[in-house]
Symmetry: C2
Amino acid sequence: MTESASSRTPLSPTPRSTPTRYKDRVRTDRADLDTVLDAGLVCHLGVLLGGTPVVLPTIYGRDGDTLYIHGSTGAGSLRAAIAHDISVAVTLVDGVVYARSAMHFSMNYRSAVVLGRAVEVTGYDECLHGLRVIVEHAAPGAWSRVRPPNKKELAATKVLALDLTEASVKVRAGGPIDDAADIEAGGVWAGVLPLRQVWEAPIGSEDLAPDIAVPGDVLRRCESSLVPIR
Amino acid sequence: MTESASSRTPLSPTPRSTPTRYKDRVRTDRADLDTVLDAGLVCHLGVLLGGTPVVLPTIYGRDGDTLYIHGSTGAGSLRAAIAHDISVAVTLVDGVVYARSAMHFSMNYRSAVVLGRAVEVTGYDECLHGLRVIVEHAAPGAWSRVRPPNKKELAATKVLALDLTEASVKVRAGGPIDDAADIEAGGVWAGVLPLRQVWEAPIGSEDLAPDIAVPGDVLRRCESSLVPIR
Protein backbone atom coordinates (compact mmCIF):
# COMPACT_ATOMS: atom_id res chain seq x y z
CA MET A 1 0.00 0.00 0.00
CA THR A 2 2.49 2.71 1.02
CA GLU A 3 5.55 3.23 -1.09
CA SER A 4 8.57 1.32 0.08
CA ALA A 5 11.73 3.21 0.85
CA SER A 6 13.59 1.03 -1.63
CA SER A 7 11.10 1.15 -4.48
CA ARG A 8 13.62 2.79 -6.75
CA THR A 9 16.46 0.48 -5.83
CA PRO A 10 17.29 -2.85 -7.46
CA LEU A 11 16.11 -6.14 -6.09
CA SER A 12 19.00 -8.10 -4.62
CA PRO A 13 18.13 -11.69 -5.24
CA THR A 14 20.08 -14.56 -3.80
CA PRO A 15 21.00 -17.55 -5.99
CA ARG A 16 17.81 -19.34 -4.89
CA SER A 17 15.65 -16.38 -5.93
CA THR A 18 17.38 -15.97 -9.30
CA PRO A 19 15.37 -17.55 -12.12
CA THR A 20 17.41 -19.80 -14.40
CA ARG A 21 14.87 -20.09 -17.23
CA TYR A 22 13.67 -17.35 -19.59
CA LYS A 23 16.12 -14.83 -18.18
CA ASP A 24 14.84 -12.18 -20.58
CA ARG A 25 11.63 -12.11 -18.55
CA VAL A 26 13.35 -11.29 -15.28
CA ARG A 27 12.80 -7.85 -13.78
CA THR A 28 15.36 -6.58 -11.32
CA ASP A 29 13.85 -3.26 -10.28
CA ARG A 30 12.36 -3.26 -6.82
CA ALA A 31 9.43 -1.13 -8.04
CA ASP A 32 8.33 -4.04 -10.28
CA LEU A 33 7.96 -6.24 -7.22
CA ASP A 34 5.73 -3.68 -5.53
CA THR A 35 3.64 -3.32 -8.69
CA VAL A 36 2.97 -7.04 -8.99
CA LEU A 37 2.23 -7.47 -5.29
CA ASP A 38 -0.10 -4.49 -5.26
CA ALA A 39 -1.99 -5.67 -8.35
CA GLY A 40 -2.73 -9.18 -7.04
CA LEU A 41 -5.64 -10.18 -4.83
CA VAL A 42 -4.53 -13.55 -3.47
CA CYS A 43 -1.10 -15.04 -2.98
CA HIS A 44 -0.02 -18.67 -2.92
CA LEU A 45 1.85 -19.60 0.23
CA GLY A 46 4.29 -22.51 0.18
CA VAL A 47 4.75 -24.28 3.51
CA LEU A 48 6.20 -27.59 4.60
CA LEU A 49 3.51 -29.84 6.05
CA GLY A 50 4.67 -33.32 6.94
CA GLY A 51 7.62 -32.94 4.61
CA THR A 52 5.48 -31.98 1.62
CA PRO A 53 5.67 -28.50 0.07
CA VAL A 54 1.99 -27.60 0.28
CA VAL A 55 0.64 -24.61 -1.63
CA LEU A 56 -2.25 -22.69 -0.06
CA PRO A 57 -4.06 -19.64 -1.44
CA THR A 58 -4.56 -16.80 1.00
CA ILE A 59 -5.09 -13.05 1.09
CA TYR A 60 -2.23 -10.70 1.89
CA GLY A 61 -1.19 -7.09 1.97
CA ARG A 62 2.00 -5.08 1.51
CA ASP A 63 3.25 -2.14 3.50
CA GLY A 64 6.62 -0.85 2.36
CA ASP A 65 9.09 -3.71 2.58
CA THR A 66 6.80 -6.08 4.47
CA LEU A 67 4.23 -8.57 3.20
CA TYR A 68 1.56 -9.58 5.71
CA ILE A 69 -0.55 -12.72 5.79
CA HIS A 70 -2.90 -13.87 8.51
CA GLY A 71 -5.01 -16.74 9.70
CA SER A 72 -6.47 -18.45 12.72
CA THR A 73 -4.17 -19.12 15.65
CA GLY A 74 -5.29 -22.73 15.24
CA ALA A 75 -4.11 -23.02 11.65
CA GLY A 76 -1.35 -25.59 11.31
CA SER A 77 -0.16 -23.96 8.11
CA LEU A 78 0.72 -20.72 9.93
CA ARG A 79 2.49 -22.60 12.71
CA ALA A 80 4.50 -24.41 10.04
CA ALA A 81 5.14 -21.19 8.15
CA ILE A 82 7.26 -19.66 10.90
CA ALA A 83 9.25 -22.84 11.53
CA HIS A 84 11.17 -22.70 8.26
CA ASP A 85 11.72 -20.52 5.20
CA ILE A 86 8.60 -20.11 3.08
CA SER A 87 7.72 -18.69 -0.29
CA VAL A 88 4.83 -16.54 -1.41
CA ALA A 89 3.88 -16.25 -5.07
CA VAL A 90 1.59 -13.68 -6.69
CA THR A 91 0.70 -14.23 -10.34
CA LEU A 92 -1.36 -12.16 -12.74
CA VAL A 93 -2.30 -13.71 -16.07
CA ASP A 94 -2.58 -11.09 -18.80
CA GLY A 95 -3.32 -13.24 -21.82
CA VAL A 96 -2.68 -16.37 -23.82
CA VAL A 97 0.02 -16.27 -26.48
CA TYR A 98 -1.00 -18.17 -29.61
CA ALA A 99 1.99 -19.29 -31.66
CA ARG A 100 2.45 -21.01 -35.01
CA SER A 101 3.84 -24.13 -33.35
CA ALA A 102 2.60 -25.94 -30.25
CA MET A 103 5.78 -25.52 -28.22
CA HIS A 104 5.77 -21.74 -28.54
CA PHE A 105 2.34 -21.26 -26.98
CA SER A 106 2.72 -19.28 -23.78
CA MET A 107 1.05 -16.97 -21.31
CA ASN A 108 1.58 -13.28 -20.81
CA TYR A 109 1.88 -12.76 -17.09
CA ARG A 110 3.40 -10.82 -14.23
CA SER A 111 4.65 -12.90 -11.31
CA ALA A 112 6.53 -12.41 -8.09
CA VAL A 113 7.99 -15.04 -5.79
CA VAL A 114 9.14 -13.92 -2.35
CA LEU A 115 11.36 -16.16 -0.23
CA GLY A 116 12.32 -15.85 3.40
CA ARG A 117 11.54 -16.53 7.03
CA ALA A 118 8.25 -15.09 8.17
CA VAL A 119 7.92 -13.87 11.74
CA GLU A 120 4.84 -13.75 13.89
CA VAL A 121 3.73 -10.20 14.55
CA THR A 122 3.42 -9.53 18.26
CA GLY A 123 1.90 -6.59 20.07
CA TYR A 124 -1.62 -5.21 19.83
CA ASP A 125 -0.83 -2.20 17.65
CA GLU A 126 1.45 -4.18 15.35
CA CYS A 127 -1.16 -6.92 14.79
CA LEU A 128 -3.84 -4.34 14.17
CA HIS A 129 -1.59 -2.63 11.64
CA GLY A 130 -0.93 -5.90 9.81
CA LEU A 131 -4.64 -6.67 9.64
CA ARG A 132 -5.39 -3.18 8.40
CA VAL A 133 -2.83 -3.64 5.62
CA ILE A 134 -4.43 -6.96 4.61
CA VAL A 135 -8.00 -5.66 4.68
CA GLU A 136 -7.03 -2.48 2.82
CA HIS A 137 -5.35 -4.63 0.17
CA ALA A 138 -8.50 -6.71 -0.30
CA ALA A 139 -10.82 -3.72 -0.03
CA PRO A 140 -9.07 -0.35 -0.39
CA GLY A 141 -10.73 2.37 1.63
CA ALA A 142 -12.96 0.04 3.64
CA TRP A 143 -11.08 -0.22 6.94
CA SER A 144 -11.99 3.19 8.30
CA ARG A 145 -15.75 2.72 7.82
CA VAL A 146 -16.20 -0.76 9.35
CA ARG A 147 -15.96 -2.08 12.89
CA PRO A 148 -12.30 -2.71 13.75
CA PRO A 149 -11.20 -6.06 15.23
CA ASN A 150 -12.01 -6.43 18.91
CA LYS A 151 -9.69 -8.02 21.45
CA LYS A 152 -11.34 -11.44 21.13
CA GLU A 153 -10.96 -11.43 17.36
CA LEU A 154 -7.36 -10.26 17.60
CA ALA A 155 -6.55 -12.98 20.12
CA ALA A 156 -7.85 -15.62 17.70
CA THR A 157 -5.82 -14.27 14.78
CA LYS A 158 -2.18 -14.81 13.91
CA VAL A 159 -0.45 -12.24 11.70
CA LEU A 160 2.80 -13.09 9.94
CA ALA A 161 5.24 -10.63 8.39
CA LEU A 162 7.62 -11.51 5.57
CA ASP A 163 10.43 -9.22 4.50
CA LEU A 164 10.55 -8.45 0.78
CA THR A 165 14.32 -8.36 0.33
CA GLU A 166 14.59 -11.79 -1.31
CA ALA A 167 12.31 -12.02 -4.31
CA SER A 168 12.17 -12.58 -8.02
CA VAL A 169 9.88 -10.93 -10.54
CA LYS A 170 9.12 -12.17 -14.02
CA VAL A 171 7.06 -10.50 -16.70
CA ARG A 172 6.14 -11.82 -20.12
CA ALA A 173 4.40 -9.46 -22.50
CA GLY A 174 3.95 -9.21 -26.25
CA GLY A 175 3.38 -11.67 -29.05
CA PRO A 176 4.69 -15.14 -29.78
CA ILE A 177 8.34 -15.85 -30.54
CA ASP A 178 8.02 -18.25 -33.45
CA ASP A 179 10.70 -20.10 -35.37
CA ALA A 180 11.71 -18.36 -38.60
CA ALA A 181 10.72 -21.42 -40.64
CA ASP A 182 7.20 -21.41 -39.18
CA ILE A 183 6.79 -17.69 -39.91
CA GLU A 184 8.00 -18.18 -43.48
CA ALA A 185 5.71 -21.16 -43.99
CA GLY A 186 2.77 -18.84 -43.26
CA GLY A 187 -0.86 -19.83 -43.08
CA VAL A 188 -1.16 -20.01 -39.28
CA TRP A 189 -2.58 -17.17 -37.19
CA ALA A 190 -0.40 -15.99 -34.32
CA GLY A 191 -1.02 -13.39 -31.69
CA VAL A 192 -2.28 -12.72 -28.20
CA LEU A 193 -5.71 -13.12 -26.64
CA PRO A 194 -5.57 -10.60 -23.78
CA LEU A 195 -7.24 -11.45 -20.50
CA ARG A 196 -8.55 -8.83 -18.14
CA GLN A 197 -10.16 -8.88 -14.72
CA VAL A 198 -13.13 -6.60 -14.30
CA TRP A 199 -15.33 -5.75 -11.34
CA GLU A 200 -19.02 -6.30 -11.81
CA ALA A 201 -21.77 -4.30 -10.10
CA PRO A 202 -21.78 -4.67 -6.30
CA ILE A 203 -24.38 -7.00 -4.79
CA GLY A 204 -25.74 -5.86 -1.44
CA SER A 205 -26.05 -8.43 1.30
CA GLU A 206 -29.49 -10.01 1.77
CA ASP A 207 -29.60 -8.72 5.34
CA LEU A 208 -28.78 -5.16 4.30
CA ALA A 209 -31.23 -2.38 5.19
CA PRO A 210 -32.56 -0.71 2.03
CA ASP A 211 -31.45 2.77 3.06
CA ILE A 212 -27.73 1.99 3.09
CA ALA A 213 -26.01 3.19 -0.07
CA VAL A 214 -23.01 1.54 -1.71
CA PRO A 215 -19.96 3.35 -0.28
CA GLY A 216 -17.64 5.44 -2.39
CA ASP A 217 -14.67 3.09 -2.08
CA VAL A 218 -16.73 0.23 -3.55
CA LEU A 219 -18.16 2.41 -6.33
CA ARG A 220 -14.76 3.76 -7.27
CA ARG A 221 -13.27 0.29 -7.43
CA CYS A 222 -16.12 -0.94 -9.55
CA GLU A 223 -15.59 1.90 -11.99
CA SER A 224 -11.89 1.10 -12.27
CA SER A 225 -10.36 -1.93 -13.89
CA LEU A 226 -8.27 -4.08 -11.65
CA VAL A 227 -5.52 -5.81 -13.46
CA PRO A 228 -4.16 -3.53 -16.17
CA ILE A 229 -1.86 -1.58 -13.82
CA ARG A 230 1.09 -1.81 -16.20
CA MET B 1 -10.28 -31.91 -20.82
CA THR B 2 -12.01 -35.30 -21.20
CA GLU B 3 -14.39 -36.40 -18.51
CA SER B 4 -12.76 -38.49 -15.82
CA ALA B 5 -14.15 -41.92 -15.11
CA SER B 6 -14.65 -40.94 -11.51
CA SER B 7 -16.19 -37.53 -12.03
CA ARG B 8 -19.38 -38.63 -10.32
CA THR B 9 -17.60 -40.26 -7.42
CA PRO B 10 -16.51 -38.61 -4.19
CA LEU B 11 -13.03 -37.30 -3.63
CA SER B 12 -11.19 -39.47 -1.13
CA PRO B 13 -8.87 -37.13 0.67
CA THR B 14 -6.22 -38.27 3.04
CA PRO B 15 -5.73 -36.48 6.37
CA ARG B 16 -3.14 -34.17 4.79
CA SER B 17 -5.55 -33.17 2.03
CA THR B 18 -8.44 -32.58 4.43
CA PRO B 19 -8.89 -28.87 5.24
CA THR B 20 -9.19 -28.12 8.93
CA ARG B 21 -10.41 -24.54 8.61
CA TYR B 22 -13.74 -23.32 7.19
CA LYS B 23 -15.05 -26.86 6.75
CA ASP B 24 -18.34 -25.54 5.36
CA ARG B 25 -16.44 -24.48 2.26
CA VAL B 26 -15.10 -27.94 1.53
CA ARG B 27 -16.43 -29.76 -1.54
CA THR B 28 -16.13 -33.51 -1.63
CA ASP B 29 -17.51 -34.31 -5.07
CA ARG B 30 -14.87 -35.28 -7.59
CA ALA B 31 -16.68 -33.29 -10.28
CA ASP B 32 -15.94 -30.10 -8.32
CA LEU B 33 -12.22 -30.81 -8.62
CA ASP B 34 -12.51 -31.19 -12.37
CA THR B 35 -14.53 -27.98 -12.64
CA VAL B 36 -11.96 -25.91 -10.76
CA LEU B 37 -8.99 -27.40 -12.63
CA ASP B 38 -10.67 -26.90 -15.99
CA ALA B 39 -11.59 -23.28 -15.24
CA GLY B 40 -8.07 -22.19 -14.24
CA LEU B 41 -5.33 -21.05 -16.57
CA VAL B 42 -2.22 -21.36 -14.43
CA CYS B 43 -1.44 -23.51 -11.42
CA HIS B 44 0.98 -22.92 -8.58
CA LEU B 45 3.43 -25.77 -8.13
CA GLY B 46 5.01 -26.36 -4.73
CA VAL B 47 8.46 -27.98 -4.82
CA LEU B 48 11.29 -28.38 -2.35
CA LEU B 49 14.37 -26.47 -3.47
CA GLY B 50 17.24 -26.51 -1.02
CA GLY B 51 14.84 -27.37 1.78
CA THR B 52 12.51 -24.43 1.05
CA PRO B 53 8.95 -24.99 -0.19
CA VAL B 54 9.13 -22.84 -3.33
CA VAL B 55 5.94 -21.90 -5.18
CA LEU B 56 6.18 -21.50 -8.95
CA PRO B 57 3.41 -20.56 -11.39
CA THR B 58 3.14 -22.73 -14.47
CA ILE B 59 0.64 -23.84 -17.08
CA TYR B 60 -1.01 -27.24 -16.89
CA GLY B 61 -3.72 -29.41 -18.34
CA ARG B 62 -6.04 -32.16 -17.16
CA ASP B 63 -6.99 -35.36 -18.93
CA GLY B 64 -9.31 -37.55 -16.90
CA ASP B 65 -7.57 -38.36 -13.64
CA THR B 66 -4.19 -36.93 -14.61
CA LEU B 67 -2.82 -33.41 -14.33
CA TYR B 68 0.10 -32.61 -16.64
CA ILE B 69 2.78 -29.96 -16.24
CA HIS B 70 5.87 -29.47 -18.35
CA GLY B 71 9.11 -27.58 -18.60
CA SER B 72 12.63 -27.66 -19.90
CA THR B 73 14.69 -30.76 -19.23
CA GLY B 74 17.18 -28.36 -17.66
CA ALA B 75 14.72 -26.96 -15.12
CA GLY B 76 15.82 -27.75 -11.59
CA SER B 77 12.27 -27.33 -10.34
CA LEU B 78 11.04 -30.26 -12.45
CA ARG B 79 13.92 -32.46 -11.34
CA ALA B 80 13.04 -31.62 -7.76
CA ALA B 81 9.34 -32.17 -8.39
CA ILE B 82 9.74 -35.88 -9.04
CA ALA B 83 12.08 -36.46 -6.10
CA HIS B 84 9.38 -35.95 -3.45
CA ASP B 85 5.65 -35.34 -3.04
CA ILE B 86 4.51 -32.05 -4.48
CA SER B 87 1.36 -29.98 -4.45
CA VAL B 88 -0.40 -28.10 -7.19
CA ALA B 89 -2.93 -25.36 -6.42
CA VAL B 90 -5.42 -23.77 -8.79
CA THR B 91 -7.35 -20.76 -7.47
CA LEU B 92 -10.07 -18.67 -9.06
CA VAL B 93 -11.05 -15.43 -7.34
CA ASP B 94 -14.72 -14.63 -7.89
CA GLY B 95 -15.11 -11.50 -5.81
CA VAL B 96 -14.35 -9.55 -2.65
CA VAL B 97 -16.72 -9.95 0.29
CA TYR B 98 -17.32 -6.65 2.08
CA ALA B 99 -18.45 -7.13 5.67
CA ARG B 100 -19.58 -4.81 8.46
CA SER B 101 -16.48 -5.60 10.50
CA ALA B 102 -12.87 -5.85 9.39
CA MET B 103 -12.37 -9.48 10.42
CA HIS B 104 -15.27 -10.72 8.31
CA PHE B 105 -13.93 -9.39 5.02
CA SER B 106 -13.24 -12.31 2.72
CA MET B 107 -12.90 -13.49 -0.86
CA ASN B 108 -15.28 -15.55 -2.89
CA TYR B 109 -13.17 -18.18 -4.60
CA ARG B 110 -12.90 -21.68 -5.95
CA SER B 111 -9.68 -23.49 -5.15
CA ALA B 112 -8.18 -26.93 -5.57
CA VAL B 113 -5.01 -28.32 -4.03
CA VAL B 114 -3.68 -31.60 -5.40
CA LEU B 115 -1.06 -33.56 -3.50
CA GLY B 116 1.02 -36.52 -4.61
CA ARG B 117 4.11 -37.82 -6.31
CA ALA B 118 4.45 -36.73 -9.91
CA VAL B 119 6.07 -39.06 -12.40
CA GLU B 120 8.02 -38.18 -15.51
CA VAL B 121 6.14 -39.13 -18.64
CA THR B 122 8.26 -41.36 -20.85
CA GLY B 123 7.69 -42.48 -24.42
CA TYR B 124 7.19 -40.36 -27.52
CA ASP B 125 3.42 -40.78 -27.82
CA GLU B 126 2.83 -40.28 -24.10
CA CYS B 127 4.89 -37.05 -24.00
CA LEU B 128 3.12 -35.77 -27.09
CA HIS B 129 -0.22 -36.54 -25.47
CA GLY B 130 0.71 -34.67 -22.29
CA LEU B 131 1.85 -31.64 -24.27
CA ARG B 132 -1.35 -31.71 -26.31
CA VAL B 133 -3.39 -31.70 -23.08
CA ILE B 134 -1.41 -28.71 -21.76
CA VAL B 135 -1.63 -26.69 -25.00
CA GLU B 136 -5.33 -27.50 -25.40
CA HIS B 137 -5.92 -26.32 -21.84
CA ALA B 138 -4.18 -23.01 -22.55
CA ALA B 139 -5.69 -22.66 -26.02
CA PRO B 140 -8.64 -24.98 -26.66
CA GLY B 141 -8.90 -26.03 -30.29
CA ALA B 142 -5.49 -24.74 -31.29
CA TRP B 143 -3.39 -27.92 -31.28
CA SER B 144 -4.73 -29.38 -34.51
CA ARG B 145 -4.04 -26.26 -36.59
CA VAL B 146 -0.44 -25.51 -35.51
CA ARG B 147 2.86 -27.25 -36.11
CA PRO B 148 3.23 -30.13 -33.61
CA PRO B 149 6.40 -30.50 -31.55
CA ASN B 150 9.32 -31.96 -33.47
CA LYS B 151 11.75 -34.50 -32.06
CA LYS B 152 14.26 -31.85 -31.02
CA GLU B 153 11.62 -29.88 -29.12
CA LEU B 154 10.29 -33.03 -27.47
CA ALA B 155 13.80 -34.06 -26.42
CA ALA B 156 14.26 -30.70 -24.67
CA THR B 157 10.95 -30.95 -22.81
CA LYS B 158 10.08 -32.81 -19.66
CA VAL B 159 6.44 -33.72 -19.03
CA LEU B 160 5.24 -34.65 -15.55
CA ALA B 161 2.00 -36.42 -14.69
CA LEU B 162 0.26 -36.11 -11.32
CA ASP B 163 -2.61 -38.34 -10.29
CA LEU B 164 -5.71 -36.54 -9.04
CA THR B 165 -6.77 -38.99 -6.34
CA GLU B 166 -5.49 -36.89 -3.41
CA ALA B 167 -6.95 -33.43 -3.52
CA SER B 168 -9.06 -30.91 -1.67
CA VAL B 169 -11.52 -28.44 -3.11
CA LYS B 170 -12.85 -25.35 -1.36
CA VAL B 171 -15.48 -22.95 -2.60
CA ARG B 172 -16.70 -19.76 -0.96
CA ALA B 173 -19.67 -18.00 -2.50
CA GLY B 174 -22.32 -15.57 -1.33
CA GLY B 175 -22.34 -12.59 0.96
CA PRO B 176 -20.62 -11.75 4.23
CA ILE B 177 -21.28 -13.62 7.47
CA ASP B 178 -21.51 -10.74 9.91
CA ASP B 179 -21.99 -10.82 13.67
CA ALA B 180 -25.59 -10.28 14.74
CA ALA B 181 -24.63 -7.21 16.76
CA ASP B 182 -23.01 -5.59 13.73
CA ILE B 183 -26.07 -6.28 11.57
CA GLU B 184 -28.36 -4.83 14.22
CA ALA B 185 -26.16 -1.77 14.65
CA GLY B 186 -26.79 -1.01 10.97
CA GLY B 187 -25.28 1.85 9.01
CA VAL B 188 -22.53 -0.11 7.26
CA TRP B 189 -22.87 -1.42 3.71
CA ALA B 190 -22.15 -5.11 3.26
CA GLY B 191 -22.12 -7.23 0.14
CA VAL B 192 -20.00 -8.66 -2.63
CA LEU B 193 -18.03 -6.99 -5.39
CA PRO B 194 -17.90 -9.73 -8.02
CA LEU B 195 -14.77 -10.17 -10.09
CA ARG B 196 -14.80 -11.63 -13.56
CA GLN B 197 -12.14 -12.49 -16.13
CA VAL B 198 -12.93 -11.48 -19.67
CA TRP B 199 -11.12 -12.00 -22.94
CA GLU B 200 -10.38 -8.89 -24.93
CA ALA B 201 -10.15 -8.71 -28.72
CA PRO B 202 -7.30 -10.80 -30.17
CA ILE B 203 -4.14 -8.95 -31.21
CA GLY B 204 -2.43 -10.40 -34.28
CA SER B 205 1.34 -10.81 -34.14
CA GLU B 206 3.40 -8.03 -35.74
CA ASP B 207 4.93 -10.55 -38.13
CA LEU B 208 1.54 -11.88 -39.23
CA ALA B 209 0.63 -11.73 -42.93
CA PRO B 210 -2.48 -9.56 -43.42
CA ASP B 211 -4.46 -12.28 -45.20
CA ILE B 212 -4.53 -14.65 -42.22
CA ALA B 213 -7.85 -14.48 -40.40
CA VAL B 214 -8.35 -15.00 -36.68
CA PRO B 215 -9.21 -18.72 -36.30
CA GLY B 216 -12.56 -19.92 -35.04
CA ASP B 217 -11.21 -21.33 -31.77
CA VAL B 218 -9.81 -17.89 -30.85
CA LEU B 219 -12.99 -16.07 -31.89
CA ARG B 220 -15.22 -18.47 -29.97
CA ARG B 221 -13.13 -18.10 -26.84
CA CYS B 222 -13.17 -14.34 -27.13
CA GLU B 223 -16.95 -14.38 -27.38
CA SER B 224 -17.25 -16.54 -24.27
CA SER B 225 -16.52 -15.51 -20.72
CA LEU B 226 -13.81 -17.50 -19.03
CA VAL B 227 -14.24 -17.78 -15.35
CA PRO B 228 -17.95 -17.98 -14.50
CA ILE B 229 -18.21 -21.75 -15.02
CA ARG B 230 -20.18 -22.28 -11.84
